[in-house]
Symmetry: C2
């Protein structure tokens, strides 16, 4: 995917976020909290991932962390300068510092997280004087769609619990 006209950059963000949303839908189908992420380097997707905590029994199974690890494997380096991480939900206090430490250029997220958002909403663990790197942060890309998937998931879970079929 190449969109050279700078005025079309917001559309490019949307296009990559749609891929992250596809990942979120995959998580939903597995009963995982529906969050997806893609890592992009020089306009190309180098990793796609979704939440896998429950299915893989992995405490690190957040979409962002899996995308970081897989992207680093693809690029053969752990410092991910030049990369943008797209994620459907604002990163949590574990994932935001992980993205900073991995030196991603930019974090683009969909929905704000009013409970644990660590890109400025509840915590600011991205732009800190103590850190030696400060990624650019862009929030609210495809926000409505990202929120919609999460809302549908949690409503279904609540209804399942009410009906006695919850997990």
């Amino acid at each position: 995917m190449t969109i050279p006209d700078p005025s079309l950059v917001p559309l490019r963000h949307d296009a990559f976020m749609l891929l992250a949303l596809e990942e979120a839908v995959k998580a939903e189908a597995l009963g995982e909290v529906p969050v997806g992420a893609v890592l992009v380097f020089e306009g190309k997707v180098v990793a796609r991932a979704h939440n896998t905590r429950e299915t893989q029994h992995d405490p690190l199974g957040h979409a962002e962390l899996t995308a970081l690890r897989e992207g680093a494997r693809q690029l053969g380096r752990w410092r991910l300068a030049g990369c943008t991480l797209y994620v459907t939900l604002e990163p949590c206090p574990m994932c935001a510092p992980a993205l900073v430490q991995a030196r991603v250029d930019r974090i683009v997220y969909g929905a704000m997280d009013p409970k644990l958002g660590a890109a400025g909403t509840v915590f600011n663990l991205v732009d800190r004087p103590e850190f030696n790197h400060r990624p650019e942060v862009i929030g609210g890309v495809c926000e409505r769609q990202a929120q919609g998937i999460l809302k549908r998931f949690f409503e279904a879970r609540r209804n399942g619990i009410r009906d006695g079929g919850g997990k």
Copy 2:
């Protein structure tokens, strides 16, 4: 290892920290920042790990995170209630929230980290009203040894750079 007498608990902490220090020495031999960790459940070590960022090109290659992931795999669950994580250096802002989210009972660390320590020294990302879990934190266990390994590593690296042999 079982030490039933409660007055001997500090010694037990020392014993597990010595295993974490062994892991730190392994990291040092690989040219990694020498930090090691062990995860303990019901008095038994379920995972041992050391830093692997450089050798594995893994942005998540901190000792604590690898111990969490491996321990969860061993126990078949991502919620690590009942576990204590021993680590030679105070957890960073990525690792401290990861330990909270994994629900470990207790974090025991060796040396304080005056630059990025997130268990109270620079950040407090362990005991927060926003989190739904608060692990107990014990610092300063085998502190001198943990500091010593780090000091030796960074001194050697500085000397290597000065001699033109640095990485």
